[in-house]
């Protein structure tokens, strides 16, 4: 019985990571090299001895009683004096040269900045990474027989890296081209990692991570389910465990094949595809207008500011944030009226007027504070907010390289002095200056509420990294309260996702969620070529001279793309999943994104996440 368990364990857990090669076979040539060099050193010593011994006493001792000038002349001819001086000059120059060698061999790698900065140009580094096998990558089960990245010998006997789930992990792993993904971040090799001959002979081992296997937190079955759900659409799914920050699935469609981009022309073609942008991980690197899902952030801000009990009126006349500003209605226009409501109901029915008024009531400062706690950048001007910085520090990872490789674009809002009441109102329900959200960021916002202690856990993708807290955002009580509010969306009598989540409820899972819909004006594409349509513009001054000519991309103002969002936490009692789903051009969030989320929750139940 015991034996069987041990055997099973052997097959279930990843193989113990192999130790660095102990350089057994390298020892012979290394030792012979040392013998050779030190043997030559010995010969040099003998030759030096020979040189010293063969020195001839040039002349017999000069009598002391001669005048100094005469003695000096007798000592050696002046020709010889010049020669001797030159000899010493040469010796000094040679030693000087050798000091240059010492510099390059010992100090350049540490002290010379240019040398370090450009070391990626060193061909040896590429040799090493080609000759050293990268570690294998496993999913969170750690099963060796189901690797995500491994080596296989092909028919011609060559050993090649293979990705069984290819497209599903392309954005996460990354190829050898373009920006590095996990593959290069985890297994990058520096030429300094190899030992010198003396160390090989002594059997010293060098710390080297490049060939160790890695177990990810991603669940291959859940990831595959996300792939299946998004098939044929444009969008992204991010699923986290709110308690630990584990990334369970992270997928963007369209993706690309890692095997195919080995070919450079394929890569260039994909890179040039402006319309589908298959190389971009939408979950991490694309900005979306969050729409109503941003009300979650506003709600968190309201609770942090103690405004959670404030009531606002939703009327048929709409809400004017400031005199002369555009009126704000709900999605149903003047016909949709909720009356005077509290935050719970406003969230349940996704009332725009309520959250617009809440945005104004909270003001820029309090929105900013909540946003920053959640990892959203708050900037003073729109141009700064649109710059799209990376946010590697959000990750909990073993190395900075991993953090950089998966760094999301920083989601941003604008909270500077120029922000008007109207801007605040728009931001309150996820429009206007709140239009730079990433799916991962929205998943993090949901995860904060899903965390039993109200903490925002840093997302982590390596299984062996300890969980880390990003921020203590809420008190446990507030988090529980917010969870129950989110539960109204899927379970409440007028919740926007009630219908879609019917089957989930029937399966006995209580969930929480938030729908969202956003309109985005996108370029008009030529259906034949797939290129954005442009019109040629010529600018003239008042004398009719041409100032400049350019091609302007035509924006499709009449038919904006409607993106559907859904945020979800499940199960409500002790959330194991926090999810953000976006479907580009999918229409209402409750009809496009929510069904995907519901299907994924059911899949997670099958996989045993809610036991």
């Amino acid at each position: 019985m015991n034996l069987v368990t041990i055997l099973l364990l052997l097959f279930q857990t990843p193989s113990p990571s192999p130790l660095p090669t102990p350089h057994v076979l390298e020892r012979t040539p290394a030792l012979l090299t040392l013998i050779y060099v030190f043997g030559f050193g010995f010969v040099i010593l003998l030759l030096l001895l020979g040189l010293v011994r063969s020195r001839r006493q040039t002349t017999s001792p000069i009598p002391e009683d001669l005048p100094k000038a005469v003695r000096k002349r007798l000592g050696s001819t002046s020709t010889n004096r010049g020669l001797r001086a030159l000899r010493w000059l040469f010796v000094l120059l040679s030693i000087g040269l050798f000091s240059f060698h010492i510099y390059w061999a010992h100090y350049a790698a540490e002290r010379n900045e240019k040398f370090q900065e450009l070391s990626y140009k060193d061909l040896r580094g590429r040799r090493l990474s080609e000759s050293t096998l990268r570690g294998w990558i496993f999913d969170r089960s750690g099963r060796v027989d189901q690797p995500l990245a491994f080596y296989r010998r092909d028919s011609s006997g060559n050993i090649r890296r293979e990705y069984p789930m290819d497209k599903a992990f392309a954005h996460i792993f990354g190829s050898d081209r373009g920006d590095p993904g996990l593959e290069r971040a985890l297994f990058g090799v520096q030429s300094g990692a190899l030992p010198e001959a003396l160390e090989v002979v002594k059997g010293q081992q060098i710390e080297f991570r490049g060939n160790q296997d890695v177990r990810l937190t991603i669940d291959r079955a859940l990831q595959q389910a996300a792939v299946d759900q998004l098939k044929g659409k444009h969008g992204a799914v991010a699923i986290l465990n709110p308690q630990t920050g584990d990334v369970l699935a992270l997928y963007s469609e369209p993706s690309y094949s890692l095997a195919e981009v080995d070919d450079e022309s394929t890569w260039i073609r994909l890179e040039a595809n402006e319309r589908d942008k298959p190389l971009v991980s939408r979950a991490l690197g694309a900005y979306y207008i969050p729409g109503s899902t941003f009300k979650t952030v506003t709600m968190i801000a309201a609770f942090l500011a103690g405004e959670q009990d404030t009531e606002f009126t939703c009327s048929g006349g709409g809400y004017y944030a400031a005199p002369g500003a555009n009126v704000i209605f709900d999605d149903g226009g003047p016909g949709e009226v909720h009356g005077r409501i509290k935050i719970d109901q406003a969230y349940e029915v996704s009332c725009n007027q309520y959250f617009a008024q809440m945005g104004v009531k909270l003001g820029a400062e309090r929105l900013k504070r909540a946003a920053q706690l959640l990892g959203i950048g708050a900037y003073d001007t729109p141009s700064e907010a649109l710059r799209g910085r990376k946010l590697p520090q959000i990750w909990d990872a073993s190395t900075d390289a991993v953090k950089r490789a998966l760094a999301p674009r920083e989601a941003t809002i604008v909270t500077g002095k120029q922000v008007t009441r109207y801007d605040l109102a728009l931001m309150g329900y996820g429009q206007g200056y709140a239009g730079q959200m990433t799916p991962l960021q929205m998943a993090l916002a949901a995860a904060t509420i899903g965390n039993l202690e109200g903490k925002l856990m840093k997302p982590r993708i390596e299984y062996n990294v300890k969980p880390e807290v990003f921020n203590q955002v809420l008190t446990p009580q507030t988090a529980a309260r917010l969870r129950s509010i989110m539960g109204l969306v899927t379970g409440g009598p007028s919740g926007t996702a009630r219908g879609v989540f019917g089957p989930v409820k029937a399966a006995g899972i209580n969930t929480g969620g938030k729908t969202g819909t956003a309109q985005k004006i996108v370029p008009l594409y030529d259906p034949k070529t797939g290129e954005p349509k442009t019109r040629h513009k010529v600018e003239k001054d008042n004398k009719g001279n041409i100032i400049r000519e350019y091609d302007e991309v035509i924006m499709d103002n009449d038919n904006p793309r409607i993106d559907g969002w859904f945020l979800c936490i499940a199960p409500l009692e002790k959330p194991q999943l926090a999810m953000a789903v976006i479907v580009e051009g999918g229409g209402y969030g409750s009809r496009s994104a929510a069904p995907i989320a519901a299907a994924l929750v059911l899949k997670a139940k099958d996989l045993g996440y809610f036991k």
């Binding site: 097959f11 130790l19 090669t21 102990p22 076979l25 390298e26 040539p29 290394a30 012979l32 090299t33 040392l34 050779y36 060099v37 043997g39 030559f40 010969v43 040099i44 030759l47 030096l48 020979g50 040189l51 001839r56 020709t79 004096r81 010049g82 020669l83 030159l86 000899r87 040469f90 010796v91 040679s94 040269l97 050798f98 060698h101 390059w104 061999a105 010992h106 240019k114 040398f115 450009l118 140009k121 060193d122 061909l123 040799r127 000759s131 050293t132 096998l133 060796v144 491994f150 080596y151 296989r152 010998r153 006997g157 060559n158 050993i159 300094g192 190899l194 010198e196 001959a197 090989v200």
Partner: protein, 563 residues
């Protein structure tokens, strides 16, 4: 260590033993990377020791060599170190391959296979489609290997067989001739004619050469160094007393003008050949000779001063612009100078002073190559046009693919060698182009580290010290100057070569004497060695005669004795 043939023969045998160990190391390391080194090549190389030992015996038995054996042994030490490095580089299938990518791929597969066999457990192996054997260290015989295709015929027709053999002949001939007083006297008297006759084949070489090389990748004008040196030494011997008589510190025109003519002659063909390295060595050697023979302080200062000024002007002209701008007035001074400097010199100076920073694409000498690369690769051009930052990246890429490729790869190689080196066959010197001749020191530094570098530099120092001693002991001016000149040639050549690689000096395309087997360079070095040893032997015999009081008056010296 006595200066006897027998003890030095023992050392040569010791070197042979070490050499065998070195060849074995290269062979084993090759197997680890999946290729077998050529046994024929190794035997051919080791057989070079037979003529070397025969020459040593011939010198001591037939020629009654009484001079300094250290010269000979040091040269052999350098020669065998070089031979091993060439063997290591040329047996690497990638180094000289037409299809480098394929050769590299094969090597990498060999390393990967071994890693898997040693480290992967049976489960992993099975998943990979390999027989599920447990992870365990494997024997070297289990590794797949690509056999060497170096045949006996290759060995017999290879220049690497014949050039050393020719070098040994050159050595023997030079020694036999220079051991005779009559020949030396003839040389000294006809030195001017000899120089003139040397110019004729050189002029032809200038016409036929391209980019400083001729006959493939050779520099056949290398041996002309010897007649030029003899010419200069000859005229200096005839005039040095007059030259020493100065007026206000300056010699008379009728003394100095012929000397200057003689000094300038070699510069003309080498300038035409764009062989600036040789010009540098000639300046060094001639200055040495002049200062040794004439020894007047004002002239010494004049020489040193002018050398410093010339170097200063060159450096100022070649300094990168951003550094120039930090010093007031410097850009104004430097602009006309850098405009006047030949492109090749500017490029070498840039690589020397600022090799890791590419010049801006507008720089005159870099623009052409930069534009050429862009026109070859439209993708790059598109990138470069996007933004200034992108253009900078593209510029760096092209710079390191083109001009800076060789020096930068050498630099990283030296850095990776650290103290004891990677070990023969375990480093990657094969990525450095022409690592077997110009950049041989970089290959040595990578695989044997600082220790190997110290061996080479110490050997050069020993050679120079022994050469200077030969010159010191010479009792007539002509051989004294010749010995000093030959030593200076070898010494400066080594300094300039190593200095170029270590970025202490600008890189010039000259070889490391005795170590690089760059065709004519090796032949010339051995001929120089032959002359030096002949002088050394003469000195010893003169000394014996001079020490005999009776014979002192009837000294056989026909050459003019030193004052």
């Amino acid at each position: 260590m006595k200066n006897r043939a027998s003890s030095h023969l023992l050392i040569i045998l010791l070197i042979l033993g070490l050499e065998i160990a070195g060849y074995f190391a290269v062979h084993r390391a090759g197997l680890l990377r999946g290729y077998e080194t050529s046994i024929i090549g190794a035997v051919r190389d080791l057989m070079m020791f037979i003529p070397l030992i025969i020459i040593a015996l011939w010198l001591s038995r037939n020629k009654k060599f009484a001079g300094n054996w250290v010269l000979y042994t040091t040269a052999i030490l350098l020669f065998s170190f070089g031979m091993l490095i060439q063997y290591r580089l040329y047996s690497d299938p990638e180094y000289n391959a037409r299809n480098k990518a394929q050769a590299r791929e094969e090597k990498m597969q060999a390393l990967r296979t071994r890693y898997i066999m040693e480290n992967y457990d049976p489960v992993k192996k099975q998943l990979m489609g390999l027989p599920p054997t447990p992870a365990q260290p494997i024997e070297i015989s289990q590794l797949p290997k690509k056999e060497s295709n170096y045949s006996l015929w290759n060995a017999l027709t290879s220049s690497y067989t014949w050039i050393p053999v020719f070098s040994f002949f050159a050595f023997a001939i030079a020694y036999s001739l220079c051991a005779r007083d009559g020949f030396l006297l003839w040389l000294q008297r006809n030195s001017f004619i000899i120089v003139l006759f040397t110019l004729v084949p050189l002029a032809m070489a200038v016409v036929t050469s391209s980019a400083g090389k001729a006959l493939g990748n050779m520099t056949p004008w290398e041996p002309s160094k010897i007649p030029f040196l003899i010419g200069f030494a000859g005229i200096l011997t005839a005039r040095y007393k007059d030259l020493a008589e100065t007026y206000w510190g300056i010699p008379r025109a009728r003394d100095i003008v012929p000397l200057l003519v003689m000094a300038v002659l070699p510069f003309i063909p080498f300038f035409a050949l764009k062989d600036f390295g040789q010009m540098l060595i000639f300046s060094g050697a001639y200055t040495t000779l002049y200062l040794v023979a004439v020894r007047r302080w004002p002239q010494l200062l004049l020489f040193v001063g002018s050398v410093i000024i010339v170097i200063g002007i060159l450096v100022v002209g070649a300094l990168p612009r951003d550094i120039q701008e930090k010093v007031p007035l410097l850009p104004t001074i430097a602009r006309p100078i850098s405009a006047a400097l030949p492109a090749r010199i500017q490029q070498r100076f840039h690589l020397w002073l600022d090799g890791f920073d590419p010049p801006s694409p507008e720089t005159s000498w870099w623009k052409k190559e930069y534009d050429e690369s862009l026109s070859k690769d439209p993708k790059l051009k598109e990138l470069a046009d996007q933004s200034p930052a992108m253009q900078k990246t593209v510029n760096i890429d092209i710079w390191f693919d083109k001009l800076a490729f060789q020096p930068a790869q050498a630099q990283w190689g030296i850095s990776s060698g650290k103290s004891s080196g990677r070990g023969f066959g375990l480093g990657f010197p094969e990525v450095i182009p022409i690592a077997d001749s110009d950049y041989v020191y970089a290959a040595i530094a990578e695989e044997t580290g600082l220790a190997g570098g110290a061996v080479i530099i110490l050997a050069i120092i020993i050679f120079v010290v022994a050469g200077v001693r030969t010159s010191l002991e010479a009792r007539d001016m002509f051989t004294k100057l010749c010995a000093a000149g030959l030593t200076a040639f070898v010494g400066f050549q080594a300094l300039v070569n190593i200095g170029g690689i270590l970025r202490a000096l600008p890189m010039t395309g000259i070889t490391l004497p005795f170590v690089s087997h760059g065709g004519f360079s090796l032949i010339t070095s051995f001929a120089m060695l032959g002359m030096l040893m002949a002088f050394s032997s003469r000195n010893a015999r003169d000394r014996v005669i001079a020490d005999r009081p009776v014979a002192k008056s009837s000294s056989p010296l026909k050459l003019e004795a030193v004052q």
